[in-house]
């Protein structure tokens, strides 16, 4: 087996970068739509936004799964140099992000089923229901979905702050690992 070049082990490959940047606007859209649908009174208009939130969320779920599976398969990237706590914080933030990006849509899907709202992917594909409606359980899932959503947003803000810290303050090339069409330093 050929050992991957230093460049290959330093920079993220195109698939990882592509998935990462595809998920950025998607996650922002999902979050914005969530705020809109929460603010609207229950009715057909709110329902439309909910459907959009669910469709985008399911798209994100599939992308996150592909990304995780790819991350497990691809050659492991070299850890960026830094203090031990920085490496530790980076590793666990990334892991937590992977976890929540996959778990959060699943909680949402379960919540949809429990509240007896059939899932339709962008109004086109009707998805099967695997859980019977249960109002009490649905409420618990709604709470969890909201809590995990806020946690995810805090993690994302931390992730972005750390990336900017690398890119603007430390200028150690860690930021450009995720930037496509960019040479490593």
């Amino acid at each position: 087996m050929q050992t991957p070049s230093l460049e290959a082990r330093w920079r993220y490959d195109f698939l990882s970068q592509g998935l990462h940047w595809l998920m950025v606007p998607l996650l922002i859209a999902i979050f914005v739509v969530a705020q809109i649908m929460d603010a609207l009174p229950d009715g057909p208009r709110a329902f439309w936004w909910y459907q959009l939130h669910k469709s985008l969320g399911m798209t994100l779920w599939v992308l996150a799964l592909i990304r995780l599976l790819w991350a497990l398969v691809r050659p492991r990237l070299a850890a960026a140099p830094g203090a031990r706590w920085v490496v530790f914080a980076a590793r666990w933030t990334h892991r937590a992000l992977y976890l929540l990006l996959i778990v959060q849509p699943m909680i949402g899907i379960a919540h949809s089923w429990l509240s007896d709202f059939p899932l339709r992917f962008f109004g086109l594909i009707r998805l099967p229901t695997l859980l019977a409606a249960d109002e009490a359980l649905a409420e618990i899932f709604e709470e969890i979905h909201g809590f995990v959503g806020k946690t995810l947003m805090i993690l994302v803000i931390f992730h972005v702050a750390a990336a900017l810290w690398h890119g603007l303050w430390r200028r150690d090339g860690v930021f450009s690992r995720m930037v496509p069409y960019n040479r490593a330093p």
């Binding site: 995780l68 992977y98 976890l99 996959i102 899907i109 009707r126 998805l127 229901t129």
Partner: protein
């Protein structure tokens, strides 16, 4: 102290690996179970053997009716989960026929279907409630003259299975059919078609006799 940190780190690694494996298994289960459950069949509405009829009272003198000659539609249904079915109907509004040319052009006009502006009438089911062995309440959104209103249909399944002529006509050898009868009621004034109501009844009764062929 160092030993403890190392121990915690190893524990964290193990927890992460196991937790993530569990998440991946759950996700894959969701995908495969979902795929297995989507034993949904799509039936296409057979325009030749479908009547969508509206009936109303004319000045207390007589019952009048009109039908729509051109109708399209589909029914997606998983026999194991009929409540999850999806019914979509698109009616060509210009095909409304009351069996009288002058009356037809009256119906096409601005006071009624305004077919120049609104050539299509659609119904999309939003909820299906199974009410008996062969009956269901189909709730959906009717869009008529660009106005969307909920409409409830009381439906009863007439037949589901191999086409009765499967043994006779070669073309129907493998055909699976489904047919139902449904009734509903709407107020035409809710769709800005209230001209002459209530002299001519505002309430319009809707009767659907539909045959579907599995795709």
């Amino acid at each position: 102290m160092i030993e403890l940190t190392r121990h915690t780190a190893r524990f964290g690694e193990r927890l992460w690996r196991r937790g993530m494996a569990l998440v991946v298994v759950a996700a894959l289960y969701l995908l495969t179970a979902g795929a297995a459950r989507s034993a949904e069949e799509t039936y296409r509405l057979d325009n030749t053997h479908t009547r969508i009829q509206v009936q109303w009272d004319h000045l207390g003198l007589s019952r009048q009716s009109a039908t729509f000659r051109t109708v399209e539609g589909s029914l997606r249904i998983d026999p194991a989960q009929p409540a999850e079915a999806q019914l979509d109907i698109v009616i060509d509004a210009t095909s409304v026929d009351a069996f009288s040319e002058p009356f037809n052009s009256h119906l096409h006009g601005a006071n009624f279907f305004a077919t120049d502006d609104y050539p299509k009438i659609t119904f999309v089911s939003t909820e299906i409630e199974i009410t008996g062995a062969k009956t269901a309440q189909i709730t959906g959104i009717l869009e008529l003259r660009g106005i969307k209103r909920p409409l409830r249909l009381a439906a009863s399944l007439v037949y589901q299975g191999a086409h009765p002529l499967a043994g006779v006509k070669l073309a129907l050898k493998d055909a699976q059919v489904l047919s139902f009868q449904a009734q509903g009621r709407l107020r035409r004034s809710a769709f800005e078609m209230g001209s002459l109501a209530p002299l001519v009844s505002d309430d319009v009764e809707l009767t659907i006799d539909a045959e579907f062929i599995a795709q």
